[in-house]
Amino acid sequence: MATAVKGVEKAVERRHHEIPPVDDEEQAAGRASRPRGKRRLGPGKAIPFGYLIGPLLLLGVWFWGSAAGWIDPRVLTAPWTVATTAWDLWESGRLGPDLLVSARRFAFGLAFGVGAGLVLALVSGLSRWGEAIVDGPVQIKRSIPNLALLPLLLLWFGIDERMKIITIALGVLIPIYLHTHNGLRSIDGRYAELAETLRLGPAAFIGRVVLPGALPGFFLGLRFAVTASWLSLVVVEQVNATSGIGYMMLLAGTYGQTDVIIVGLVLYGLLGLGSDAIVRIAQRRVLSWRRTLED
């Protein structure tokens, strides 16, 4: 009796963890060999904090390689040295202000870029005339790298914050525009038919059908945009700046301080990963009505 109860408990636990049953008893009882409730195709159930596993593995290799002496500290500083350097920089009050300046540029550039990209995507997605006017210039901008635009932007706006934020915004605008526009245009035609039989007016059609329908595209664009924002930040801060993480790294490069450079790189990586995670969480919540392989 006691063993039977235990067996049930075990089975329940196993189902909970979705490990395929290997018990002879269950096979004999005619159970399907595949646990119920599990999709055979597709990536399977989400792993909690799965997005951290890859970066942690990378960190592990770095640790191990440095500890075992396979990585020359002059080539790549050991992680603990990087940590103490970061702490020293923070303590001495050099890291804090630089970080703040970089974060500010990132945030403003992202905000303006997203706003502009969204407006352009709506104008061009909702009207043929808008598309005729807006789409071409955006495609042209798309094929010009930010780095190539920089000299001109420098001449126009000088070297102050304005120029940096505009450069970042220009990089952000492109993915937002492309993916939102594509999202708008690929909304299922049946929804438009439905809206027509419901006699929705133009405002209600845009607000209740077009915008929610374009959200998946917008979020995809936003993920690219966040990356674009960090990338542009690096370019701006290393080409022309007197503050920020990029400037800190540039300075360290001239003095041969590998550890400071690595601190900067790790910071960029962490901030990039963190902001992408935030966008993904927001995407999950806002797009909970979708049924995709993600769930």
Partner: protein, 269 residues
């Protein structure tokens, strides 16, 4: 005011238009609908003439692919005719699509309320009316679910609730009860019949279930296999409410089924 939709070079539209204006009927005259051009073109409807009296209940029967959904979307004005004319008094038309089309980003209540919002119904009243309609289709308690959390039959019922929320006088329904169990369907037949009478709706109802057609319809229209033409119109002169399993319904249904079977096998052979 009369709304006449006709193929571009048309001659008969105006005359029929007057007739419709006088009676309020929906009148289809020699309606032809072709999809595509050249050798690959498909003729979905080929000369359909039909008269749907105001306040009547018309059921459409026909083999799969004979053009029933096409006919409804033409009446709803979602598509252009190739030839002929459709003529009705301009008034709101509510449509229930074959695949239950709900906005996936709105909740069940949100989908129903959208139809009310368009008509300018206030917030509090919207909420109350939506709850009532969801009650009618027996979905109380599902107001805050999203469509993907519902079964196919439940989604159909949400679509029905929304169509009723539109308060249109013409209701076009494309196999609305196809995914329901017999019991739920019986109950919804009663509800639909009640609402149809109360609001004096004009209903055009597509179904593959012959008994359902006889249970509900004032007239049952049998369409030929593709290209669709009107093969026969059966007037159902039985007292309401009818029971779907009563003998008179079964007898007429058997007669219509035979005609339908003959038509389908004529095409298969």
């Amino acid at each position: 005011m009369s709304l006449i939709r006709a193929a571009k070079p048309q001659g008969t539209g105006a005359r029929v238009g007057d007739a419709a204006r006088a009676s309020g009927a929906v009148v289809l005259t020699d309606v032809v609908k072709r999809y595509g051009r050249g050798p690959g073109a498909v003729t979905a409807l080929d000369g359909v003439s039909l008269r749907v009296e105001p306040g009547s209940f018309t059921c459409l029967l026909g083999a799969s692919g004979c053009g029933k959904s096409t006919l409804l979307s033409l009446v709803a004005g979602l598509d252009d005719l190739t030839a002929g004319s459709i003529d009705d008094v301009e008034r709101p038309v509510a449509m229930m699509f074959q695949e239950p089309a709900l906005f996936p980003w709105l909740t069940v209540a949100g989908n129903v309320e959208l139809a009310l919002r368009v008509r300018g119904v206030g917030r509090a009243e919207r909420r109350q009316r939506a709850a009532e309609l969801l009650d009618t289709v027996r979905l109380e308690g599902f107001a805050h679910k999203r469509p993907h959390e519902l079964s196919g039959g439940m989604r159909q019922r949400v679509a029905l609730a929304r169509a009723l929320a539109q308060d249109a006088s013409v209701l076009l329904m494309d196999e609305p009860f196809g995914a329901l169990d017999a019991m739920t369907r019986d109950i919804l037949h009663d509800e639909l019949e009640r609402i149809w009478r109360e609001r004096e709706l004009t209903v055009l109802f597509v179904t593959h279930n012959v008994r359902e057609a006889v249970r509900l319809g004032d007239q049952v229209v049998l369409l030929s296999s593709r290209p669709g033409r009107v093969l026969n119109v059966y007037d159902v002169a039985m007292d309401r409410p009818r029971r779907i399993d009563s003998a008179p319904v079964a007898n007429l249904a058997a007669e219509i089924t035979d005609a339908l079977r003959a038509e389908v096998s004529r095409h298969a052979g």
